[in-house]
Symmetry: C2
Subunit: 507 residues, 2 copies
């Protein structure tokens, strides 16, 4: 964690600190401030594209490594497919082209030349591509075109492949991490011999996402399936996990699609089964993206800055000496701090000793709070005399005096407590913002006063879903898995309904 | 390592094996066969873009992880910058635009629409970008445009950033890994307060690359600087490492550029030094790419397939049971194999037990030779009686009987031996293909009969360099660092020369 890369010089930083917006004043601005001032990301010179700064990228690296481990543990391998998709590929799957071929970056030429009329370069009109290339918005088409050559027999199945990649969707209104023209993600693309196996894979990967979010990001999620309206373009069924942000809006944290035989048919991918009969292959795809970083920030942070779950935090513990320029005291603190760091590092704890003498402790405290470092340890002269250290936990901001004896073990336990506490807190918040509503009035009032998930009856039609969205901006986030069957009447139309679905305003 | 993902069904595989080209018959075809049949990569539907298959991508992951560790150990952090570069940015640095703005993918539109005259989609002429975007061929311009906002004071320096990314250069003639339109790479971009510090960084990263190649890839390299002709567009000095392939051609394995203040001036990036004086920032950039996989293949492999240095091999050891359908024997072999696997895995060795009973041992042997697995262990009934196993090392193809007692330790030692032996072999080959030549006749003859590096006197002019290239296709690969000063006369022109330089035909 270099100062320089993250928030420039100290003077700048002080200026920045004084203009942090509070969550209550303006939630959207609070989020944007945090992302900028926490050193996570910023807008670039290219409209809609962000620069992910080192501290933000460290979060993504940790998420990627953990997810990658879980993908490999479930039998998947990584591969890499081209960033460009021939325009005609997008049209091969009827629903897919409607969803993805519209707002996208189109490569039409492959050469620039010097501008004969002046300085600079212009597009060479003679270097026009025969067929335009689309910068991938998602890779089903190019991948299934490839799988055609990889799959002949049942022995080639299942094919369990994942790709870590950048993708581009030309978004008109963008927000750092939450919606950007270019973003980073992983996309799994698997091929199976049977429908059952493909559905099992779709559900398995949803579980991988859910447990990753809950165990690693301290982010409780609701698992469900999307309505037809909200389905991935080209899918038979879209499974999703939905998380709740502190402003009562939902955030789709990951999706897993059962694609049926749609792409196999579009790209003519067949295999000979054990009885030598030719069958179309069954497919899934699933992905999570840098958007999850936005969810992480919005689910846990506060007005002092980021609050990071220990498992994902680039830095777990920071140790700050309090010594007032007394070199002898400093030396004794150094010795204790080094001992502590060594013990922590031996247990895999990421720890930093910040004895930079150009900044005061109070400034450092504010800095590490902004950055969301889970545990701060301060050691001063009097602490040494009393054989203690002051330990501040970021999640509750509680300060406690800890004995220096066995401090490393105590801190490791504290990190576990913080991880668990953050999850519990987010879960409580989610539960408090989950309301069963039984009338249109209740629906509207709850949405206005409290937000959150609204569990309500719906008549099952796309028209009603659209109408509710128009009236309230709330969409059906999902039909929860294992939803209890409960008959009722639609909150808007009064028509019969077989089960409740989850509504919310969403990112 | 799934069969399915890499070379489809067994029938196909047998067919493929019978058409492997030998290195001597046709080196280029041998290389291409190996990449395809070894399951490393293949061409895609997009001209010039490759699909990196799981086994090839596993090599890249291992290289990336090891390099990333070395970058972080030298104080660098990762970040991510946009894939698109506004066209005007390329023109800001005069030399850079000449080198990079020509053959590139140009995004001109951001939307498709349904074709009114038929089916499919067409580019929407109304969605033309005001300024075209270039898919990054390298990121100096977009990064230095960003650094302008990150750097104000000497306290913000040095700024040590690396990016793992895909880049696109519109190559007309492509070869898998060696030259593709899209490739994966890392690009380091650092900013410094002084010229000396920037040069030190440039040299430090060259050393990181060199030790990575030698220690990890078993690939000896020569460190040097490029002539002005071969310099990176926008650099003051380009350092490089050059490796020797088995056909006597050189391969540039990595470059590290001292950029002077060129990009700081182009993007107006200044900092106030300790005396509050405004100065332009000094820059470096450095990169290695998936091209290195091509070098790895060409440096070590043979007519039976890949030969992988243990450190980079996705699989270190494969254990194959020999049991002729006798279930009781199989059971005893299983027990021994599991014991061995456990002991190896505890030491971090990547091991697989291949007891697939649909394939014969001989077929498996050929398969793992093709894949370059460093060590193969075969255990049969008679081996068990004698308390031994047959161990085959891939590099020399030598087979030895090892005692089952202490086998895991012996195999770990063997892996070390193989790594060292592969390096020594490549180094000997390189040394044998390093010739001091002192006349034009000697130059031409050596190039024709033996190839390799030719250490020769050159008059220092770009004209002579060009002329030699025209006549022989040999280029100056580098002026080796710490070149001994030795006066002589240019092999072509007879003009005076202050030192020898290294010529070679190159990839």
């Amino acid at each position: 964690m270099r100062h320089s890369a993250n928030y420039q010089s100290i003077e700048n930083y002080a200026k920045i600190m004084s203009i942090l917006t509070s969550k209550e004043t303006d939630y959207a601005q609070w989020y944007n401030d945090l992302v900028l001032k926490g050193g996570l990301a910023e807008n670039s010179a290219v409209r809609g594209c962000m620069v992910i700064k080192p501290y933000g990228f460290a979060l993504w690296e940790n998420m990627r490594d953990e997810l990658d481990k879980r993908f490999k543990a479930t039998g998947h391998q990584n591969a890499y497919f081209p960033i460009f998709i021939p325009k005609s590929f997008l049209s091969k799957e009827a629903a897919h082209v409607e969803g993805f071929a519209k707002e996208c970056a189109v490569v039409t030429h492959y050469r620039l030349k010097n501008d004969p009329d002046g300085k600079g370069v212009i597009v060479d009109p003679e270097a026009r591509l025969e067929e335009e290339l689309i910068v991938r918005p998602t890779s089903e088409t190019i991948i299934w075109n490839t799988y055609k050559n990889w799959i002949q027999s049942y022995r080639d199945l299942p094919l369990l492949i994942n790709q870590w990649a950048n993708v581009v969707r030309w978004e008109m209104r963008t927000r750092l991490f939450l919606r950007t023209a270019e973003f980073l993600w992983q996309e799994g693309h698997t091929a199976h011999a049977t429908k059952e196996e493909a559905i099992e894979e779709t559900e398995k990967m949803l579980d991988v996402y859910a447990s990753f979010c809950e165990e690693y990001m301290a982010l409780p999620v609701i698992k469900g399936v999307k309505t037809a309206n909200e389905r991935f373009a080209g899918a038979e069924e879209t499974y999703c996990i939905e998380a709740m942000m502190q402003d009562g809006k939902a955030l789709q944290a990951g999706t897993s699609h059962f694609l049926g035989q749609n792409f196999a048919k579009a790209f003519d991918v067949k295999f000979s089964d054990k009885g030598n009969k030719m069958e179309y292959v069954w497919a899934t795809s699933w992905g999570v993206s840098t958007r999850l970083i936005g969810g992480l920030v919005m689910a846990h942070s506060d007005d002092s800055g980021l609050v990071l779950p220990p498992k994902i935090a680039p830095l777990h513990v920071v140790v700050v000496p309090i010594y007032n320029k007394d070199a002898a005291v400093k030396e004794r603190i150094d010795a204790k701090a080094k001992e502590l760091m060594k013990a922590l590092q031996a247990q895999g704890i990421r720890v930093k000793y910040d004895d930079d003498d150009t900044a005061r402790p109070g400034w450092k405290f504010a800095e590490y709070e902004l950055k969301g470092v889970p545990v701060r340890v301060a050691i001063g002269a009097r602490d040494l005399e009393n054989n203690v250290a002051e330990v501040a936990r970021r999640d509750t901001k509680e300060k406690t005096s800890y004995s220096l004896d066995g401090l490393s073990e105590a801190l490791i336990k504290l990190l576990d407590d913080i991880q668990q506490n953050m999850y519990n807190k987010a879960l409580n918040f989610r539960n408090e913002h989950f309301t069963e509503v039984n009338s249109w009035e209740e629906f509207e009032t709850t949405l206005k006063t409290k937000g959150g998930f609204l569990s309500a009856h719906w008549d099952g039609t796309a028209e009603t879903e659209e109408k509710i969205k128009e009236l309230t901006k709330a969409t059906i986030r999902c039909i929860p898995l294992n939803n209890k069957k409960e008959e009722g009447t639609c909150i808007l139309t009064g028509k019969p309904s077989a089960q409740r679905v989850l509504f919310a305003q969403a990112y």
